[in-house]
Amino acid sequence: MINTINPTIQERQRPVAVSYEASFVRNNIATCHVLFVGQSVFVQEMYKQQLKKRFNFYNSIWQSETIFSSSISEITNNSAYRSIIGLGQEVLPFIIDDLKNNDNHWFYALEALTGKNPIKENHKGVVPLMKKDWIEWAKENNLTDEN
């Protein structure tokens, strides 16, 4: 039975209309989740693998749907490309790796995810040099293994 006249510190901290027991369980679940996802190398690796799979999946769709296109707006407005951007900054290392090995048009996605544009004025449209500028930027910002 909760003493409503002189509540304990725990009782004062928990939200209104949540029982002490429910609050206890909820806090423990949150703590377990943080500990499990945040500190488990296994889970982090598993998450990274799943993200890589999703990246590869969308990337292959993007490639197949835009291979014949010259239009940059068509290439970068493709829904699979947008989905890759939607995966967030954690896909940046995958994009940089792909960029090292291919000439894919990742430049819009890179800017969308980083807010940066390291491409030099006289490199516009010269895909190998645009790649070079971004790969150098990635090295400087520790987004690639080659530092």
């Binding site: 296109s69 239009s71 940059i72 000439d103 010269v126």
Partner: protein, 142 residues
């Protein structure tokens, strides 16, 4: 190598002839313009090559201006005329530019297919495909 592509239904009847390795270093506009070192496109974010003196707009008029820079003028058709070089600018059903081809001396056309390879083809083989159709032909004196 003669090849057909589903995005171009007529290529089943009149196949393309592949004439280069696959590369994404240049696109159809650059190839028709005569440059195989850059990707030409008037993208709004200003990432790709587009001459400063031409409006950076995805409109047929901008593409016509691009080819005017090297002496092309709008003409009636894409028939082979020995004294003229010709290019064809393609657009989709919304009149949005999609592609450009350059005529060869034998009357066939050469195109770079996006990030794919270069092909030799006829106007018919590309007709009603994923690039739509020819919106304008342009020519310049040899």
């Amino acid at each position: 190598m003669r090849i057909e592509f589903p995005p171009f239904p007529n290529s089943k009847i009149d196949p393309f002839l592949v004439t280069s390795p696959q590369t994404a270093h240049y696109n159809c506009i650059a190839w028709a313009f005569g440059d195989s070192t850059k990707w030409y496109w008037p993208d709004s974010a200003n990432y790709y090559f587009w001459p400063n003196e031409i409006p950076r707009e995805e409109k047929i008029e901008s593409f016509i201006e691009l080819f005017r820079l090297i002496g092309y003028e709008v003409c009636k058709n894409g028939e082979l005329e020995p004294d003229y070089f010709k290019v064809a600018i393609y657009a989709d059903k919304f009149s949005k530019p999609t592609h450009a081809s350059r005529q060869l001396v034998n009357g066939y056309w050469t195109s770079k297919l996006g990030q794919h390879f270069d092909v030799t083809h006829t106007i018919f083989s590309m007709k009603d495909g994923s690039y739509g159709n020819v919106a304008v032909f342009m020519q310049r004196k040899k």
